[in-house]
């Protein structure tokens, strides 16, 4: 039985941990004091790089690498804390904000010290009224105690934190959308490059970090890199010789919801398998697992064939899915995948910012197609198309065979792929919202095609038994990995 490994959440349940005094009793701000006493800013940046910390917001980009892109000679430089946690199935940042806001402030202080930043904006999801209240109170307290404001702790550093509530748009969680919204404009992502690290808030270099990422910093500084890297697996990317280390270190706040007995946030070391995680969350509610969404609603779905996939950044990427924000939704045999997809597509059609053409008009189109199929309006016409799969060369391509497919399913796949192509991982959109739409649409349809076909055939939603509803891996290219690692070395 896997144990929880509580680091960020260790003192979450301590009464009044949100107050400065109680937080102080549990090493509060001592890691920051250690940082300024023992390390130079560059040392901290190096520690973060060495720790292998990956951004916890969704993209899983190396935090140390991101910091290294920030030009050090352009000031002011800003820190944007992304607390616009809106990915369906994700609710871990919220607890930090509501229960232990001083931990976030300490993380921010360390980041500001390392990067020479004086101003931090915390962009909080508008619905997190309690979280904002608690954070504002904690910031006020930190100002009073001299940990924020002019001349922090007598070190000569000036650090200010401002909180900014969002107005309820999912897209403002995308870093450039967030920056636009923060600047008082319509929340629409920017074209990249330039990336925020070079040109972000008010056209100045900006570090955008998720709440969870920043909360990791006090522990990396407090306990050292070695302690941190012991948690979680480090893989070797075998495309390089010698294999390039691909660290998945630390813990992750997994938000488990859906058909499990004890849904909630669990802090666990990275690298656990799907089935282990379901066990941690009190086991499955129901007979058998039908599907698991591993990283928030935009992640491609996993079938019961893939339950031993390890839930870390690298393994899920290889499984053509993603860890994303760590929002894990478990579905049992009673769930209808067409219905699930409809639910998700309604969300994305509603949340598309409407800036660029493919997403603005493609997303509602995908929703309408799924809606039509779910309502029993799927056309029974079929077409014959080339079958793609693993070819003799072992690579992905046209197999030379053909397959019969319902016209509507072909249309669904084609429209979704026109927004962002999940096979080539290219998108015609400005931001990655496009791939967040087509990933679920295409993966649900490919992996649970019998259920979609049944809905079209029968003219109504039909929930098939798990074994019948799922396309086995060997027959389905949705499983095909982008590169096949010869051997993953685990430290």
């Amino acid at each position: 039985m896997v144990e929880e490994k509580r680091i960020l959440y260790e003192h979450l349940d301590v009464p009044d941990i949100n107050t400065f005094d109680v937080f102080r009793q549990y090493d509060g701000y001592k890691r920051f004091e250690k940082a300024i006493a023992e390390y130079q800013p560059d040392d901290i940046a190096k520690m973060v790089m060495d720790s292998g910390l990956k951004g916890r917001g969704g993209a899983g980009f190396s935090t140390g690498l991101k910091w290294s892109f920030v030009p050090r000679d352009i000031k002011p430089c800003y820190l944007c804390c992304n607390a616009d946690e809106s990915e369906p199935g994700t609710f871990s940042n919220r607890y930090v904000l509501e229960k232990n806001p001083h931990l976030l402030i300490e993380g921010i202080l360390i980041c500001c010290y390392a990067m020479g930043i004086e101003t931090t904006y915390v962009y909080i999801r508008g619905e997190f009224t309690l979280g904002k209240k608690m954070l504002d109170a904690a910031i006020k307290e930190a100002y009073e105690k001299g940990y924020l404001g002019k001349d922090v702790c007598g070190t000569g550093l000036n650090i200010d934190i401002y909180t900014h509530p969002g107005a309820g748009a999912y897209i403002c969680g995308e870093e450039t959308g967030l920056i636009e919204s923060l600047e008082g404009k319509r929340g629409q992502p920017r074209n990249k490059p330039p990336f925020p690290a070079v040109e972000g808030v008010f056209s100045k270099p900006t570090v955008v970090q998720n709440v969870e990422t920043l909360c990791n910093l006090p522990f990396i500084v407090g306990n050292g890199v070695e302690w941190y890297t012991q948690m979680g697996p480090t893989y070797g990317d075998t495309r390089f010789d010698p294999p390039k280390p691909d660290p998945n270190t630390g813990t992750k706040l997994y938000c488990i919801s859906g058909d499990v007995n004890e849904p909630g946030v669990y802090e666990l070391e990275l690298g656990l398998t799907c089935s282990e995680l379901i066990e941690v969350a009190g086991g499955l509610r129901g007979e058998e697992v039908k599907a698991v969404i591993p990283g928030g609603s935009s992640a491609p779905i996993l079938t019961h064939y893939e339950l031993d996939t390890r839930l870390d950044f690298t393994s899920l990427t290889l499984a053509k899915s993603m860890l994303g924000s760590g929002g894990i939704i478990v579905m049992n045999e009673t769930r209808n995948i067409v219905d699930c997809l409809l639910n998700i597509m309604k969300f994305y059609a509603h949340e598309s910012c409407g800036q660029c053409t493919p997403c603005r008009w493609g997303t509602p189109w995908v929703r309408d197609i799924v809606q039509r199929i779910a309502d029993g309006g799927g056309r029974p016409d079929t077409i014959t198309r080339p079958k793609f799969g693993v070819t003799e060369s072992g690579r992905w391509g046209d197999t030379g065979e053909t397959e019969e497919i319902y016209e509507d399913l072909d249309l669904l796949e084609s429209v979704a792929n026109n927004i962002a192509n999940v096979d080539t991982m290219t998108w015609n959109t400005i931001c990655v919202f496009g791939i967040a739409v087509s990933w679920p649409a295409v993966s649900y349809m490919r992996k649970f095609r019998p259920e979609f076909e049944a809905a079209i055939r029968e003219g109504k939603l039909v929930t098939l038994p798990v074994a019948e509803a799922t396309v086995p891996p060997e027959e389905n290219y949705a499983y095909q990995q982008r590169f096949i690692p010869k051997e993953l070395e685990s430290e």
């Binding site: 748009a169 319509r186 074209n191 495309r239 059609a349 509603h350 949340e351 598309s352 910012c353 409407g354 800036q355 660029c356 053409t357 493919p358 603005r360 008009w361 493609g362 997303t363 509602p364 189109w365 309408d368 197609i369 039509r372 249309l411 084609s414 429209v415 026109n418 080539t424 991982m425 290219t426 998108w427 015609n428 959109t429 400005i430």
Partner: protein
């Protein structure tokens, strides 16, 4: 300069040119909606996707291949790269605009654009000059796969001259950016989100407009709209664009001298559109110029010469009118005659007039008449000048070119006029009310000859009225306030028996025994070039469509 390989073409462009412009310069079309050379580049239509080539990571040095992601041609700029970063040892960029991937992407984007677009081309004003139509035809799918319900956002009245057919809108936001960046008035914005995006003006909750799109540059949003969403009320349902003839000309609404295209049929002008000139008006014109052409089509236009008989102006024929004038002129002393040229007329008209005054009548009393100063409007990227005459600078120089005497203007002119026996006044342009001093002065004149296009307070006082022509009925050149000499062109025939102004003056000169014999305006321009300082190269051929700057004296 940057050397780029565009498809199989090796071309050289200025540093900082984007791919759309680089391709356009060499006759390759990269379709686009949101990109406009005069506005910022949000790259939101995704139509201009091109395939750049880049070094393949991990491969041996020098190996290049298509980039993983397509790039938007409007935001991808090229500039000279250092030698170690050249592709294939010499190119600063290699770009494909017609690879299968690019073609597929265009098809896909066009399919999305047409998902909610109504198929109302038969009743849409834009049909025939619509980017959506053209690109669909050239780059799009041949049929729609869309079976669902289309969005039908409402039709909106945005301002005095602009209607919005929201259904046709492709949300390229050109109009919004125009209102923010060029006019700086910011009336337009996006409301709602996602597929419900709509362009709108600020409104109260009940839908009452709080601010209208009524700035002086508002009409430009109709021009830059790539589809038929923004429509001019002035042009609405008047004509299909392919029936219109087009001629390059210059706006005569004020002294800026914006380059325009006059679109006309035999029965008059249908609309005026801006034409690009880098130093004068860029891509824009103001609504005063755009909608100020109506006087040309007016039914009140003077079509026949008028003569005062028993205190009534009655129509007559040219021979009669001219003989009345020559009779009066031949009897008068040179000092009793005042000749007044017009800041509304061309350089050619004024040149013939001053030649007539100087050589035939031997008078030095030359005046300049024009519209009074109006209001100046300044916008972040555009200015409408207070001088409402197109050719003040040119007329002043040319009228004064014969003798060293300064041209009479303002109070000195009217003082002279009050004491004169015969005044020959050339006007033109839209109707101009007279001020009291001007009126009194003109009333004192014994014999007033007025050459004009519309009946007005000036013609009311005249003894003989000669019907002249407007800026679309004659060839010629005008000189703007910043010293650009530009050409206007004859597009339509003058109404009735109205004649080109310089021809009338020349006819008078001939009847008084002059040997003046210009056959067309270009000949006068050559004479101007020979005789007037600053106009050295200003022949019609040299001026062309782009205009030339006054030469330094």
């Amino acid at each position: 300069m940057a050397l780029i390989k565009l498809n199989d073409l090796e071309i050289e462009v200025e540093d900082g040119t984007n791919i759309v412009e680089a391709a356009r310069q060499h006759g390759i079309e990269v379709p686009h909606y949101c990109y406009h050379p005069g506005l910022s580049r949000p790259a939101n239509c995704r139509m201009c996707l091109v395939e750049p080539y880049e070094p393949i990571p991990g491969a041996p040095p020098g190996t290049i291949g298509p980039a993983r992601q397509l790039a938007t041609g409007c935001t991808t700029t090229v500039r000279s790269a250092p030698p170690e970063r050249k592709l294939e040892d010499k190119y600063d960029a290699i770009v494909q605009t017609d690879s299968p991937r690019v073609k597929k992407a265009r098809e896909d984007i066009l399919e999305f654009l047409l998902v909610h677009h109504p198929l109302d081309c038969p009743v849409c004003d834009q049909a025939g000059e619509c980017d959506l139509q053209d690109y669909s035809y050239r780059h799009g799918h041949d049929k729609s796969r869309y079976l669902e319900v289309k969005n039908v956002p409402p039709k909106k009245d945005l301002g005095p001259d602009v209607l919005l057919y929201s259904t046709r809108c492709v949300v390229c936001t050109r109009c919004i950016r125009f209102a923010q960046e060029v006019s700086g008035t910011g009336e337009l914005g996006l409301i709602n989100r996602g597929s419900h995006d709509e362009i709108d003006i600020p409104r109260s909750h009940e839908g009452t407009p709080l601010q209208l799109l009524d700035n002086k540059l508002a009409g430009n949003v109709v021009d830059i709209c790539p589809v038929g969403a923004l429509i001019s009320k002035d042009f609405l349902f008047k004509s299909r664009p392919w029936f219109l003839e087009k001629a390059n000309s210059v706006c005569t609404g004020c002294s800026v001298g914006c380059n325009i295209t006059v679109e006309y049929k035999a029965d008059g002008i249908y609309r005026i559109k801006p034409r690009f000139h880098e130093d004068i008006n860029q891509h824009w014109i103001c609504d005063d110029g755009r909608l100020g052409y109506h006087y040309v089509n007016s039914e009140d236009r003077l079509q026949l010469p008028l003569k005062r008989v028993d205190d009534e102006l009655t129509t007559t024929h040219w021979a009669d009118a001219l003989s009345v004038i020559t009779e009066q002129l031949s009897e008068a002393e040179a000092d009793d005659i005042v000749i007044i040229g017009s800041a509304q007329a061309t350089n050619e008209d004024n040149y013939v007039l001053q030649q007539f005054a100087h050589d035939v009548l031997q008078t030095t009393q030359l005046g300049l008449f024009g519209h009074p100063l109006g209001e100046e409007h300044k916008f972040p990227q555009f200015t409408i000048e207070a001088d409402k005459n197109p050719n003040t600078a040119g007329a002043r120089t040319i009228l004064g070119s014969a003798n060293g005497n300064a041209v009479l203007e303002g109070d000195t002119l009217w003082k002279k006029v009050s004491g004169a026996k015969i005044v020959y006044l050339v006007n033109g342009g839209p109707e101009r009310p007279l001020e009291d001093t001007e009126k009194t002065a003109l009333e004192n004149v014994d014999f007033l000859i007025v050459q004009d296009v519309l009946p007005s307070e000036v013609t009311q006082l005249a003894d003989v009225v000669l019907p002249g022509t407007t800026f679309v009925e004659k060839d010629g050149t005008i000189t703007n306030s910043t010293g650009w000499i530009q050409r206007i062109r004859k597009t339509i025939d003058p109404p009735g028996e109205a004649r080109v102004d310089w021809e009338i003056t020349q006819q008078l000169a001939k009847q008084l025994g002059s040997e003046m014999n210009y056959r067309f305006a270009g000949e006068i321009a050559i004479a101007i070039a020979e005789n007037v300082t600053g106009y050295v190269d200003a022949t019609h051929q040299n001026i062309g469509d782009a205009g030339i700057k006054l030469a330094d004296s």
